[in-house]
Amino acid sequence: MSRGSSQRFDDDVVMGKAYDGRLLRRMAPFVAPYGRRLGLAIALLIGAALSEIIPPLLVQRAIDGPIQSGELNGLWGIFALYAGALLTTFTLRYSHSYLINSIGQSVMMDLRIYLFRHIQQLSLSFHDRNPVGRLLTRITNDVDALNEFLTSGMLLILADLVTLIGIILVMFLLNWRLALISLAIMPILALIVTIYQRVMRATYRLIRQRLAMINAYLNEQISGVLVTQLFGREAPSQDYFANMSADYLQANMRSVLYFAIFMPTVQLMAAIATAALLWGGGVGVLGGWASLGMLIAFVQYTQRAFEPIRNLAERYTILQAAMASAERIVGVIDTQAEIRDPDEPVTLPTPVRGTIELRDVVFGYDPHEPVLKGITLTIPAGQAVAIVGATGAGKSSLVGLLARFYDPQEGVITLDGIDIRHLRQRDLRRHIASVPQDPICFSGTIATNIRLHSTEIGDAQMRKAAETVNAATFIERLPGGYGYEVRERGANLSLGQRQLLAFARALAFNPEVLLILDEATSSVDTATEALIQEALARMLRGRTSIVIAHRLSTIRHVDRIVVLDKGRVVEDGSHDELLARQGFYSRLYRLQFAAQQVEG
């Protein structure tokens, strides 16, 4: 798996607010089903934080009690309490960790499935606008960031707070003067942490940016290494890379410097606190208002109080990342599908015959710039129609409308007399299948590539489809036949094989209406081309089909040709009729198709 390609889209991590109530409320419904378990998890965590405060107190009791008075028996009791506190902490911490993570995993799973379902049903116009990598980031990294927020952001801040308040309380209860002495250093520590965090944030951003540049360059250079080698540009590439790497090194060195200053400074603060306690406590012992045990317990408490403050920076970053992710996720969730199922869907009369009618259809991806400017067309059931026209005439838009990937701005499209907007999308597409221009393959077996994950298509039906489109021959020659593992994007199949597979898929679903975007590819050799042609002819037979024809030979198989120009139907008839008319088609034919005789 290559995660490299998705990383590029992570640059848009903009650090902003660490808390946004609006976003949290939007995310709350995903956590709500686990509310009671979450409550339990919080209770366990608070319990753990409290039980962790006990040991230094026991040290104080032991020293001031049994040890100084020489009563050995009392020591056992304290030891037992000590061990009890440790075991309690362990149990509470562990069960909290397990519980909160199981909640986190469940929430993540729900959210991922919700997002997947939502993105999947969004219209193609959305998918056209958003690169796959970005959508992938929403479902993977952004959901992860929210999980972090739940499992280690929000709750641990709470736990830190409980620990801190607990320690302060215990210290004041034990000895308020010593408490004041040891707390005096805390504001300074908090200040140092805040400054450090601010400086580091800028540095980390720089490091991330430079790493992203290295990754992008590396990716490009590896993909294009042959070009670099053939053109003898290895040395300049290496120099360029060395510069990038040096920049990255420099940014990292800056972070090392800051950290190398930060750590000893914090240590020094701890030493100051200890020294102050020693001095103040000493005075207290001499003055009779403090005990030795207290002094030792306070040294330990002070060190423990440092930790939540030191954690602050890290937790803050988690919160920020989570808010940024939540913002992006909410953005996706709030995107409404432009194509929606009707509230009261109509069912098609059975059997579906496949009569298509377009009435005054106007459509543009941008409503102000219509691509189709009033198309009226009736295609009787069983007829094969080729749509031809120059690039930009609106041919592919027409197919997009028929499969209802997009809705027209004006006009009506009907299937067997029913407006396709009144049908459920899945009902419509069960009867109208479109074969996309680029033969898509998925990783999986040949079989799953033909029937996708549909459970309705049996082996026999699948094989029959493959045989009809001439795909069976090559499939059976593959090791494993229909079980042959197809790699991502069909990398281990040739273009011609992928094309035949796409045809087999279309036939396996046995639709009444077929929409085919037929791309002439000169990279397919003549023999395979012949196979594809034959397959195409068989698919069109006796089925309502609309073919966007780029191949000369495709036009031979159709009953009728519709010529589009600038979004309008300009000619309509059989090949011979249209040629005889000496109009647009005959010109287009000479320019576009006759050229294939020479050029290929």
């Binding site: 902490t89 911490r93 796959v132 992938l136 290295i214 590896i222 070009v227 290496q238 001499l286 299948a433």
Partner: protein, 589 residues
């Protein structure tokens, strides 16, 4: 783990920094163990009630001085050791990149780009983690432990033994749990990969999914993947959730035991309260280093695994290298000769193991292209046409026979000279995300305005430039222009032309260019090809008929060889190809 020794030469460059860094670590660790000793003195004087305010102040001051000295040494230790780790990482990254630039196509076809990227990022970072935090942390841990151990043994042997024997147990727990965690985590990550791939494929193929109304079926598969991921993750959480609580528990038990045993010793008069406080302070001081040591063990394992993957690249010998005694080719004429050339399939599939060596893809290919003449190659997809022309610039070497340029075996020629003599326009154009100008001028050191203008005219790229906001300065790629297939090919042609090569290879180079433009390019190229050797690969007879000689490849061999007219008279593959194309044309009339 032995492979980590390969890091030594890289570290040797920074040995002085490392040495000083380690010295700082020793001094810093020793100094830091003194502060519990100061604490003990103060507590003891306090407990006997003999202390003066002035000595309290003195002890406080001593603690501060110790912390300052410790901090200073830690600062230099960190700067030197962690700094070196970044420097070594930088050197390794450059070495890796340099090796990528040298390696041959068989290497790149065996390894995915994502995987090669991971080596330059994740694997390098794993090694840096060991060299930086790993060395830094274990130095601090070992030296602090040793110094504290000495001081503790000096104070009280039985109590010291409790601490010294039990504390490493926490390290052991960390190692054991950590190992199992890592094994589980690999599975979690693999499943995450499956999940990501599923999402990526589904959204890339959304048109197909929607076209067949398979959204629900896809969702079901995705949900099942997710459920499996959750199960694996929870298996991981059982371990990882236990790790820190276990550490705290282990360290806590040692502390409790010290309190119990130490308290009894105090009561028995064998230990002072100050010494007990000193022990307590060491416990706090040592707990992080002990965990650190456990972590280092996993760092070593990870780094060793990563080093394996780096060495795979760094020690891989490029199949194509410049010969030791290279014959220069400063003024190539462009004469090409192939003598009995054979190329075997690269065996990737395991079922090929039955035969000792993979079958021939190209077999017994011989021909001669005089300087300045043209050769056309035709044949079915997968016939090996591209492989054949790739032999010229040594993208790979033949398994049999010889390829000669100007009468010299290409394997004896200076590689840079050889490649300078040939320009390819490949089937698929690769553009770099830089300006169009840089892409066109990619193959030359410097290009003046006139030369670039000429190249863009010949390739008909000049026609497109007006459409771009910045003309030839327009940026290409993700953050810039998206070019059509035809535009890309025109850039590739311009790039090849600008090099003014002796030999020009057009590998199905006009496939994405529309008919009108391709005619225009062909006319322009005719001018350019005069006096240059050219090899043209095409799928259709019409494109190749004017070539001085035509070769038809079939079943890995030269099936037919001659001019257009000669081949037509043979009545073989070429004739069939022409006839098929004619027939196609006639049928539609």
């Amino acid at each position: 783990m032995a492979n980590l020794r390969h890091l030594l030469p890289y570290m040797a460059r920074y040995r002085l920094s490392l040495l000083i860094g380690l010295c700082c670590a020793i001094i810093g660790a020793t100094v830091s163990t003194l502060s519990p000793y100061v604490l003990r003195l103060a507590v003891d004087e306090l407990s006997t009630g003999t202390i003066l305010l002035s000595s309290l102040t003195r002890y406080g001051g001593l603690l501060l001085i110790i912390a300052l000295a410790d901090g200073l040494f830690k600062f230099f230790q960190r700067m030197l050791i962690i700094g070196t780790s970044y420097a070594v990482e930088n050197d390794l990254r450059r070495a890796l990149f340099a090796r990528y630039m040298q390696l041959d196509q068989s290497f790149f076809s065996q390894n995915h780009t994502g995987d090669l990227m991971a080596r330059a990022t994740n694997d390098l970072s794993a090694i840096r983690q060991l060299l930086g935090p790993g060395i830094n942390g274990s130095a601090t841990a070992l030296f602090t432990f040793s110094a504290a151990a000495l001081l503790m043994l000096f104070v009280n042997v039985p109590l010291a033994l409790i601490v010294l024997l039990l504390m490493p147990l926490t390290t052991l727990i960390f190692i054991l749990v950590g190992n199992r965690m890592r094994r589980t985590f690999t599975k979690v990550q693999d499943q995450f990969g499956t999940l990501s791939t599923r999402v990526q494929e589904n959204f890339s193929g959304i048109r197909t999914i929607k076209a067949y109304a398979q959204e629900e079926a896809e969702l079901a598969v995705f949900a099942a993947d997710n459920a499996h991921y959750r199960t694996l993750s929870m298996r991981y959480m059982v371990l990882s959730g236990a790790l820190w609580p276990l550490m705290t528990l282990g360290l806590g038990i040692v502390a409790a035991l010290v309190l119990l045993v130490g308290g009894r010793l105090v009561v028995a008069g064998q230990l002072t309260i100050g010494q007990l406080a000193q022990f307590n302070a060491y416990l706090v001081m040592l707990s992080f280093p002990m965990i650190m040591l456990g972590w280092v063990v996993s760092l070593v394992q990870q780094a060793a695994a990563s080093m394996d993957r780096l060495l795979e690249v760094l020690t891989r010998k490029p199949a194509i290298t410049n010969p030791e005694v290279a014959i220069p080719l400063p003024h190539p004429r462009g004469e090409i000769t192939l003598e009995g050339v054979g190329v075997r399939y690269t065996s990737e599939r395991s079922d090929d193991r039955l035969s000792p060596r993979p079958a021939w893809m190209l077999h017994d290919i011989s021909f001669h292209v005089p300087a300045g003449s043209s050769l056309a190659l035709v044949g079915a997809t997968g016939a090996g046409k591209t492989t054949l022309v790739n032999l010229l610039a040594r993208v790979r070497d033949p398994d049999a026979g010889r390829v000669l340029i100007d009468g010299i075996d290409v394997r004896q020629l200076d590689l840079a000279n050889l490649r300078r003599a040939i320009s390819y326009v490949p089937q698929e154009t690769f553009l770099f995300s830089r300006s169009l100008r840089e892409n066109v001028a990619f193959g030359v050191d410097q290009a003046d305005h006139a030369a670039i203008a000429h190249a863009t005219t010949v390739s008909c790229l000049a026609n497109d430039l007006d459409q771009f906001p910045d003309g030839i300065e327009a940026m290409v790629g993700e953050r810039g222009l998206t070019l059509s297939g035809g535009q890309k090919q025109r850039v590739a042609i311009a790039r090849a032309v600008l090099r003014n090569p002796a030999i020009l290879v057009l590998d199905d180079a006009l496939s994405s260019v529309d008919t009108h433009t391709s005619a225009q390019i062909l006319t322009q190229l005719h001018e350019l090809l005069r006096g240059r050797t050219s090899i043209i690969i095409a799928q259709r007879a019409a494109t190749v008929r004017d070539a001085d000689q035509i070769i038809v490849l079939h079943d890995g061999q030269i099936a037919e060889h001659g001019t257009h007219n000669e081949l037509l008279q043979l009545g073989g593959h070429y004739t069939a190809m022409c006839r098929r194309e004619l027939l196609e044309a006639e049928l539609t009339d």
